[in-house]
């Protein structure tokens, strides 16, 4: 059974600070996704990581994947209030097509 764990579950940070969200998964995977969800809203796709060492960046967010360690990170640089949301990672099992989601990290960025 594929298990996906995120930490921290909740993160409160000041504007301008840097921080990293971690996503660990239990079995081999060839695809990992990061999504953002604003309160009461749907999920928005941020990144898809397809290979070991893959790195994607969009604005203040950068995601990376280490398939050997079964670990993905979402790094936040110089956080701003608009980044406040819940972030989910989701993993596709090798030779499969179903996503298994982590429990989410709720990020609050304070002015």
């Amino acid at each position: 059974e594929l298990k996906v764990e995120q930490n921290p579950l909740f993160l409160s940070m000041q504007e301008g600070k840097n921080y990293t969200i971690y996503c660990n998964y239990s079995t081999t995977s060839d695809r990992l996704y990061w999504y953002r969800q604003d309160p009461g809203k749907s999920l928005e796709s941020l990144f898809v990581l397809l290979s070991n060492g893959a790195v994607k960046q969009e604005g203040r967010l950068m995601a990376s994947l280490d398939t050997k360690a079964r670990l993905s990170t979402l790094h936040i640089t110089a956080a701003v209030h608009d980044l406040s949301a819940t972030y989910f990672c989701a993993v596709v099992r090798n030779a499969g097509n179903m996503l298994t989601f982590g429990g989410g990290t709720r990020l609050m960025v304070k002015p």
Partner: protein, 112 residues
């Protein structure tokens, strides 16, 4: 505007009643999915369909059924609702199975 629509937006339902949540996409995506989102549990896959005419069970399929008569529509039916089915339900689609999924706005369901 291309995307996924879900109906209803929200619903209060008496236990034991039958309910169908509707999902329609106009992106001509082959694969469609139903998830439920519960506080502290993230999203869990209920059922999926890799292409019109086929369906499969996800992580939490009990108490739910789906059909996929055509590419665009993927309704989710609760045959006899129970309070534990109180949740937010999201429909999603992807061009092909396993590719990036795009989510609908969700249906908030309260079963009393």
């Amino acid at each position: 505007i291309a995307g996924i629509t879900q109906a209803p937006t929200s619903q209060i339902l008496a236990a034991g009643r039958r309910m169908t949540l509707r999902c329609t996409q106009d992106m001509r995506h082959n694969a469609m999915y139903w998830y439920r989102q519960d506080l502290g549990l993230g999203l869990r896959l209920i059922h999926y369909s890799n292409t019109a005419g086929t369906t499969g069970k996800g992580e939490v399929p009990d108490g739910y059924s789906v059909s996929r008569a055509n590419t665009d529509d993927f309704p989710l039916t609760l045959a006899s609702a129970v309070p534990s089915q109180t949740s937010v339900y999201f429909c999603a689609s992807s061009r092909e199975a396993g590719e990036t999924q795009y989510f609908g706005p969700g249906t908030r369901l309260l079963v009393l």
